[in-house]
């Protein structure tokens, strides 16, 4: 499955009410380090298909959610479980780092 696009409109349904944990990559077109994270997110979406929902939220087009979760630096990747943010990773990181965080959430 490809990565999902999250928006202010579908956030409640697709992230907060999701049965699976959800990885949200907060990004914007003007953010160069976001271009580094973007392909990693797409890989993770495939790797964790059926176990974790993985997608992106454009902070310019969806300012409500970005401000609700206090995003002040992008890329920021947050992992949600049962409607609550349980992990926050700020700045571009390697795939291993994101996988480690996802695994922790899956095993908790």
């Amino acid at each position: 499955m490809a990565d999902t696009t999250f928006t202010d409109a579908n956030f409640d349904q697709d992230v907060l009410k999701s049965q699976m944990p959800v990885v949200v990559d907060f990004w914007a077109v003007w953010c160069a380090p976001c271009r580094i994270v973007s392909p990693i997110i797409e890989d993770l979406a495939k790797e964790y298909e059926g176990k974790v929902k993985v997608g992106k939220l454009n902070v310019d087009e969806n300012q409500n959610m970005a401000s609700k979760y206090g995003i002040m630096s992008i890329p920021t990747v947050m992992i949600f479980k049962k409607g609550e943010p349980v992990k926050t990773v700020i700045g571009a990181q390697g795939k291993d780092k994101y996988k480690k965080e996802i695994e922790e959430v899956l095993s908790s």
């Binding site: 160069a32 271009r35 580094i36 002040m72 630096s73 992008i74 700045g91 390697g94």
Partner: protein, 320 residues
């Protein structure tokens, strides 16, 4: 087995790779997860020759990367973790893989120097930033400070004026290292204020930045300034931690990856350079901000990358 392993993917590393691949040398670039170096955190670069209107830093780096790939460089986006220079071929570890190279060019560059004051570290991404082009839009109609007095501080301040209500440049001296053109631009901007002879001594706030504690280093007067963001641009530290067991930065190093034939550093932690491009280890060359404390320009880094590549090529020829 590679002829050349380049560690680093800023202007120095990628230029080196362009030259070594064009010399028909099998080249691997250890690019790092956050590849591209400092220019990835900038906007318009106006002093790189060949671009009359300037070029966006990240676009310049993507072009350099493409150019290196076009000539056959292999690039891995993994972080360099350790090296063994005690035997040849040298072995270089990045991510979970180890690679062998006949020669190595170290071009690991430099990273943001943080203020190192209480409250700063835990608020990185919560109002503390070193990258205005990345984070400025989150400070729409907010008040921010920029720490520093060089060109990067002026650039950060100018970028921030597009979004923030007010930008206060806090500088610990009363003279500026910034170039005249950048300083003039900042001074002319009505949103930018300057506070000199002053240091940020603490970053305060609950979950995010709410104010900074300032200390005037002439009068010792301490004041609080309410702000929403703190942008740090006080300079860069060479990325040499992993290269020396004995270096001055050793105390901050996390692991002991390097007990095996160190690379010699100078007092400030930069790699000591011999004969323009050589380190103390034969066959290990160096280029860019990781040894250059003086110029620190994209174009000089690219020039150093070229020099190191030409010397590595010559050295390899003499080995066979």
């Amino acid at each position: 087995m590679y002829d050349v392993i380049v560690i680093g993917s800023g202007p120095a590393g990628l230029t080196a790779a362009i030259y070594t691949t064009r010399a028909n040398l099998k080249t691997l670039v250890i690019a790092g997860v956050k590849w591209g170096g400092q220019l990835m955190l900038t906007t318009l670069v106006e002093n790189y020759p060949g671009f009359p209107e300037g070029i966006q830093g990240p676009d310049l780096m993507m072009a350099m990367r493409k150019q290196a790939e076009h000539h056959g460089a292999e690039i891995v986006d993994a972080d360099f973790t350790s090296a063994d220079f005690s035997k040849r071929p040298f072995s270089i570890t990045a991510g979970d893989k180890t690679y062998e190279g006949k020669s190595v060019i170290i071009a690991t560059g430099a990273d943001t120097k943080w203020l190192g004051v209480p409250g700063e570290k835990e608020k990185i991404g919560r109002g503390v930033s070193s990258c205005a082009p990345c984070d400025a839009p989150f400070f729409r109609e907010k008040n921010v400070v920029v720490a520093g007095g060089g060109d990067s501080a002026m650039e950060e301040a100018l970028v921030l004026t597009k979004f923030a209500n007010s930008v206060t440049v806090i500088h610990r001296r009363d003279e500026f290292k910034a170039s005249k053109i950048m300083l003039d631009r900042a001074r002319k901007n009505p949103k930018i204020k300057f506070v000199t002879n002053t240091e940020i001594v603490e970053v305060l706030g609950q979950d995010k930045v709410e104010k900074v504690k300032l200390k005037n280093n002439q009068t010792n007067e301490v004041t609080d300034l309410p702000v929403d963001g703190v942008f740090v641009a006080i300079g860069h530290m060479p990325n040499t931690l992993v290269f020396s067991a004995k270096g001055p930065l050793r105390s901050e190093a996390s692991g002991s990856a390097f007990g095996r034939k160190d690379i010699e550093l100078d007092e400030q932690g930069f790699i000591k350079v011999h004969d323009h491009t050589r380190t103390n280890q034969e066959g290990v060359f160096v280029a860019g901000d990781v040894h250059d404390a003086r110029y620190k320009q994209a174009v000089t880094a690219a020039g150093f990358g070229c020099m190191a590549a030409l010397e590595a090529e010559k050295w390899l020829e003499n080995q066979s």
